[in-house]
């Protein structure tokens, strides 16, 4: 096959390209230029592009750079900023996968005559006896990334390859080292590429939206303190609320950005019997059953019954009450054996 391999300049996608080449595919490496601003991690710095190009040279494959900066701004950065003004905490990496990697890049690959797009995501794509595609967790539980690629549908899965999904992380490093790939010792990058470690989310959002101070109250409405920016407060947060020490632990149980009010309560006040999920996508057919539900990239999957509700919403009813999930977080459904992704969406 002719495969376009997304190469970030990191060790995992370097090994992905290597494995594709070993499997006999015609491989072209592509580095996407997504973010033009400050960055200290992720995939857009000149030195990361240099690393990707040098690995491609080492493998003897062509390497291209595509500028999808406009798409990234429109589909990832602008919605991320906008969501915070509404008290919503999105996962920009998932939106990037949805709108850029498996949409814009995949369409470009299709247009240019490629048979598939490969990435270094740690997940696996299988095929059932009926010829349907499945999305499964990666072999290394600690590195599983099926959560962040849960939005793929049958047509996308048919044209996607995850070459490293069957390897342990240590195997990836060992493979890179055995071939003396220049990225073998490079540290993993896991953070959001447009948020710097020095400035963090506060600096990034502060440059783009006005922060409004908020009042911190308890369930009865008693004023307990003040936060500088209600836009930065997340459900479940415990620190940085300006509350006096001592006493019972208090968590953010609700954020009302329009009224600039943050409500805190006990751990128990956070518990919910269920949640609603919208923008739901399915790997194959929609499912209504008892499943496992995971609400963050490395969160523990918990049992719940999922069922269709009006307006395309899927309702999740926990078997035992769970802590409230922040609106905007991705909620991903796995089969009861915790092997396969069934679908997922965004917490309301």
């Amino acid at each position: 096959m002719k495969v376009m391999c997304a190469m970030s300049g990191g060790v995992v996608s370097s090994v992905a390209a290597l494995l594709l080449q070993r499997a006999g595919h015609e491989v072209v490496g592509v580095t996407m230029k997504l973010w033009g601003g400050d960055s200290d991690t992720g995939c857009c710095s000149v030195s990361d592009v240099d690393d990707a190009r040098r690995v491609a040279q080492q493998l003897g494959i062509d390497h291209l750079v595509f500028n999808f900066g406009d798409d990234f701004d429109e589909h990832v950065v602008a919605p991320y900023v906008d969501a915070h003004t509404r008290g919503i905490t999105p996962n920009p990496c998932i939106e990037c996968n949805r709108s850029v990697k498996f949409a814009r890049l995949a369409e470009r690959a299709d247009l240019l005559g490629f048979d598939a797009v490969a990435t270094g995501h740690h997940a696996n794509i299988g095929t059932t006896v009926a010829g349907r595609h499945t999305l499964e967790r990666g072999a290394d539980p600690a590195k599983d990334q099926s959560y962040v690629v849960h939005m793929l549908d049958q047509a996308q899965l048919a044209r996607t390859l995850f070459p490293v999904g069957g390897l342990q992380k240590s195997d990836v490093r060992a493979l890179a080292a055995s071939l003396d790939l220049r990225t073998a010792d490079k540290p993993d990058s896991q953070d959001v590429c447009f948020i710097t470690s020095t400035g963090g989310r506060t600096a990034f959002l502060g440059d783009r939206i006005p922060f409004r101070s908020g009042t911190v109250v308890d369930a009865a409405g008693t004023r307990l303190g003040e936060v500088e920016s209600v836009e930065l407060v997340t459900i479940g947060q415990r620190k940085g609320l300006g509350l006096p020490g001592g006493g019972p632990k208090r968590y953010v149980v609700d954020v009302d950005t329009s009224a600039s009010v943050v409500t805190v309560g006990s751990d128990g006040d956070l518990l919910r019997t269920g949640l609603d999920v919208d923008s739901v996508t399915w790997i194959d057919e929609p499912v209504e059953a008892r499943v496992l539900v995971q609400c963050s990239a490395h969160g523990r999957p918990m049992a719940a019954d999922i069922a269709a509700a009006p307006d395309g919403v899927v309702h999740v009813e926990w078997v035992t009450p769970q802590r409230r999930i922040a609106p905007g977080q991705s909620v991903v459904f796995y089969d009861p054996t915790d092997t396969m992704v069934l679908g997922g969406g965004i917490c309301r």
Partner: protein, 382 residues
């Protein structure tokens, strides 16, 4: 390395070296290795080659030999002209928005003013006049003779009269890097104080260029050290590069008139050939306003990043706008300044011809481009 079988339509990025230039430089890469600043006869031999090269270049650009500074290339020449003028005279710098980044970024760093252009990319003289009238202290005005992306020729004499009238103390610099192949430099130099050239654009090697400083030192040197180039540009001269550059410029100058006619016809054949078979191919600047080698087009319904891949796959070398440090194509600041819609600019393709271009190159490019564009417009199904 053997020469690959390619169709090369990217002369404005870098032209193939002229064989005579390669031959001329070889002795200075092999036998004559002495430092030209040395005091022995071996050095004097290298020194003489540089001096003779300087005479050749001076004759072609119509200046005195001691007004020629050999530099490390066009970017260095542009940087030296602008940063050096601001360093020497204080004040600010002014340039049109379509300049090469080697000019634009230096002007911006100096806190300078950027002037608009017309729809062909030539500086708006009225706007230039009003900016110069407003700015009390302009050290240097920099206006390119030929635009590197779209090929537009600027009337430097007209620019000069505006600058002399409204900012009599300002130096006038022209980036003539893209002009050397197509315009008689003798007609440009008399109107300016400073002029930049880059050898690899006209069949010389990379890493060597010229800054003409008319009337003696006009700017502060950028590179300081051993005082080579009469204290204008320190660092041991690139003797081989200078000799090759002079030879390439000599040949370019001698063949310019006949080449321009021949290549202009090839350019027309290319653009007309594409337009005959494809709808929505617009020549960005009309041929009467640009140099003979430029076939910049905007192709509706395709993204040049995708088209370039298909051309590359078929061994046709072309380009779009300038690339950033990562190698990604950036949206063209030139087309934006000309008022071209961003959507239209996404389909920009820069095809540039030069001294080695042939009918076969043009016909091959058409043969590859037509199905590639059709395929991208259809949505990629093979």
């Amino acid at each position: 390395m053997t020469e690959p079988a390619i169709t090369y339509l990217d002369h404005a990025a870098s032209a193939p070296m002229r064989p005579e230039a390669i031959e001329a430089m070889m002795p200075y890469l092999t036998g004559f290795y002495a430092n030209p600043s040395g005091s022995h006869r071996f050095s004097r031999r290298t020194r003489q080659a540089i001096d003779e090269s300087r005479d050749v270049v001076a004759e072609i650009v119509a200046c005195r030999p001691n007004e020629i500074v050999f530099t490390g290339g066009g970017t260095e020449s542009d940087n030296m002209a602008i940063a050096g003028a601001v360093a020497r005279h204080g004040g600010t710098a002014v340039c049109p928005a379509v300049e090469h980044h080697a000019v634009l970024h230096v002007v911006e760093r100096a806190g300078g003013r950027v002037v608009g252009v017309d729809h062909a990319g030539a500086v708006d003289l009225d706007q230039l006049a009003s900016v110069l009238a407003e700015e009390p202290d302009v050290a240097v005005v920099s206006v390119m003779a030929v635009n590197n992306e779209v090929g537009t020729v600027t009337d430097i004499a007209a620019v000069s009269s505006v600058v002399r009238r409204h900012a009599p103390d300002a130096l006038l610099h022209t980036d003539a890097v893209q002009a050397a192949c197509w315009l008689d430099l003798r007609e440009i130099t008399p109107h300016v104080d400073l002029l930049s050239l880059s050898a690899h654009k006209f069949g010389g090697p990379k890493g060597v260029g010229v800054l003409v400083e008319r009337g003696g030192p006009r700017v502060e040197p950028l590179i300081i050290g051993g005082g080579q180039e009469r204290e204008r540009r320190s660092g041991t001269q690139n003797a081989a590069g200078i000799v090759a550059m002079a030879e390439a410029l000599r040949l370019t100058d001698a063949e310019r008139d006949t080449d321009a006619v021949r290549i202009g016809e090839l350019r027309d054949r290319l653009v007309e050939g594409l337009q005959a078979q494809l709808a929505g191919v617009v020549e960005t600047v009309s041929p009467d306003r640009k140099v003979a080698g430029s076939a910049h087009v905007c192709i509706a319904g395709v993204e040049s990043e995708a088209l370039l891949y298909l051309l590359d796959e078929a061994d046709v070398c072309a380009s779009a706008a300038s690339a950033c440090a990562s190698g990604a194509m950036e949206p063209s600041h030139v087309l934006a300044a000309m008022g071209v819609d961003r959507d239209v600019a996404l389909g920009a393709l820069r095809l540039t011809l030069g001294h080695t271009s042939t009918v076969a190159d043009v016909d091959r490019a058409i043969e590859v481009m037509v199905p590639a564009v059709e395929r991208l417009r259809r949505g990629g199904v093979r």
